[in-house]
Amino acid sequence: MKPRPAYRVFRVVALTVVVLTLLAPLLWMIAASFKTNVDIYDPGKALAFSPTVDNYVKVLQQANYVEFIGNSLWVAFAATVASLVLGLPAAYSMSRFTMKKSALVVLMARVIPGVSLLVPWYYVFSNLKMVGGFGVLIISHMFVSLPLVVYIMMGYFDSLPEELEEAGLVDGLTHIGAFRRIMLPLSVPGIATAGILSFIFSWNNFMFALVLSDADTKTLPVAIFDFVGYASIDWGGLMAAATVVTVPIMVIALFVQKYVVSGLTAGATKG
């Protein structure tokens, strides 16, 4: 059905307002990251300013951000890979054998407030001399991404017909072989969705690294706070730091938006 012209006009106006409201602040942040602090303070220079990359020089050179970018990449990547390795077989099994109660255990991790786990984790991991190392960060981020992988992949495996697997068994594959050679290749789109979402959530995670990292292992969301002093804030540097954290993840999402959306809405329509 074709909507009426009046509605079409209304829709264009309404969606323009929505898109501007959502994008303008992000563009403002990026603009501020190219301003000197003097220009940021000057309302007259809101749009007419001469761009400078000084803030980025400061962030990347003096503030050691290259190292923190590496930390974030490594932690998010390792947590994602490990979550897929543990999560794929688990999701498969939970989907095939409808292990609802077992799935609930994994999904509990999504419900519990992270703070309630941090004190015990800190205690145990500091006794193991792991606090401040990458291992503990990867483990804690896996706690976020593994339930995500299981949740998304359970739904994905549910949607694959069992007959495909049967055919493999008839052809002489073992159950493990059928999982590895038939089910996994068929679920590549689902795995991509789960992997991307897991990476994004791990990249954005703040609280675990705030407590469990140290000066050498801190991730980008924690490093942002280096630009917030007690007395004053270096706004230019802060906005450059915020841009360095958010823009890469937004660019990734731009290119793989189909997967991000299907991951975020996974399971929602099945009720």
């Binding site: 688990a90 099994s93 703070v115 309630s116 786990l117 841009t243």
Partner: protein, 314 residues
């Protein structure tokens, strides 16, 4: 009754002759072998900490969890539950933050989803645009709004100035800080509710809509009596997912107001309060008590919602 022949996957299908015994054993036990690593991992990080938090909440542990702490029974619970200075206001802020943010996110998210429902030119780009706040790092988002809402140099007050309204304190004000953080949460997470509802709308069949249209139902009537009831299960999922995360909000509050939710604790929710007790004051007994109570609130809220969902499905 005719015999229904189903072609269930042969879960216990005989393995080909000549397969080594261990392969057969793995096959027979694969249900648990596949699930065990993930479940063990989560349980190890979950069960012990929760049990320990429960234990700590019954002690006077302070300074260090290792220090000789005494078992004090339910004393912490009595103290916390009678604490009208920090605990109850934090509960109030948590409920306000979650309730108000959810209300706006659901109403606005529904509106956006309806606008995007029917295909049009450029739809894909609008979808990409609304995805951006959603994937942006929450701490960075907090910092970004901190600049925009800065009382002196922020864009928000400049914009108010153009239309002749005086400057507002926004995040800096004792009474404006919480509404402002709610606004930030709504800005970041409305797109998620919109995307979930859009997925729900797209999966609906057109027939009930057409039937109602032929019966002469107005647009509003069709939404109220056809679309909304059909969308109820999706809406409940969206509220559940978003509600749990809103209750646990930390990043935005910490990024905009810092420790303790500001100098007057103006944005101190249960999560921020518990964090402060644990890591700024090392008051482990009390913080564990707050966390256990917080956890009970979350379970209660989830239970209420899923009970509603089951009722709606009936």
């Amino acid at each position: 009754m005719a015999t229904i022949t189903t072609t269930k996957a042969p879960h216990s299908a005989p393995t080909a002759p000549g397969t080594p015994g261990w392969v057969r054993w793995v096959n027979d036990h694969r249900k648990w072998l596949f699930a065990a690593p993930a479940m063990t991992f989560v349980a190890a990080l979950l069960v012990f900490p929760l049990a320990w938090t429960g234990y700590l909440s019954l002690t006077d542990a302070e300074g260090s969890v290792r220090a000789e702490s005494e078992f004090v029974g339910v004393e912490n619970y009595l103290d916390v539950l009678s604490d009208t200075e920090r605990f109850w206001p934090a509960v109030g802020r948590t409920v306000t933050f979650t309730g108000v943010a959810l209300l706006f996110e659901v109403v606005l998210g529904m509106a956006i989803a309806l606008l995007l429902w029917r295909p049009f030119k450029g739809q894909k780009w609008v979808r990409v645009a609304i995805l951006m706040p959603l994937v942006a790092t929450p701490v960075a988002v907090g910092m970004m709004w901190r600049l925009i809402f800065d009382p002196n140099i922020g864009l928000a007050n400049q914009a108010l100035g153009w239309v002749g309204i005086g400057p507002q304190p926004w995040l800096a004000g004792q009474h404006t800080a919480l509404p402002t953080t709610i606004f930030i949460d709504v800005w970041q997470w409305t797109p998620m509710v919109a995307l979930i509802l859009l997925a729900g709308l797209t999966s609906l069949s057109d027939e009930p809509q057409e039937a109602a249209r032929i019966d002469g139902a107005s647009t509003w009537q069709r939404f109220r009596h056809v679309t909304l009831p059909l969308l109820m299960p999706t809406l409940t999922v969206a509220i559940l997912l978003r509600g749990i995360d809103a209750l646990k909000t930390f990043d935005i509050l910490y990024a905009t107001k810092g420790r303790g939710g500001g100098s007057f604790h103006e944005v101190e929710t249960l999560n921020v309060y518990a964090y402060g007790l644990s890591f700024d004051y090392n008051d482990y007994g009390v913080s564990s008590t707050v966390l256990i109570l917080f956890f009970l609130i979350i379970i209660g809220a989830m239970w209420a919602l899923t009970a509603r969902r089951k009722e709606a499905q009936r």
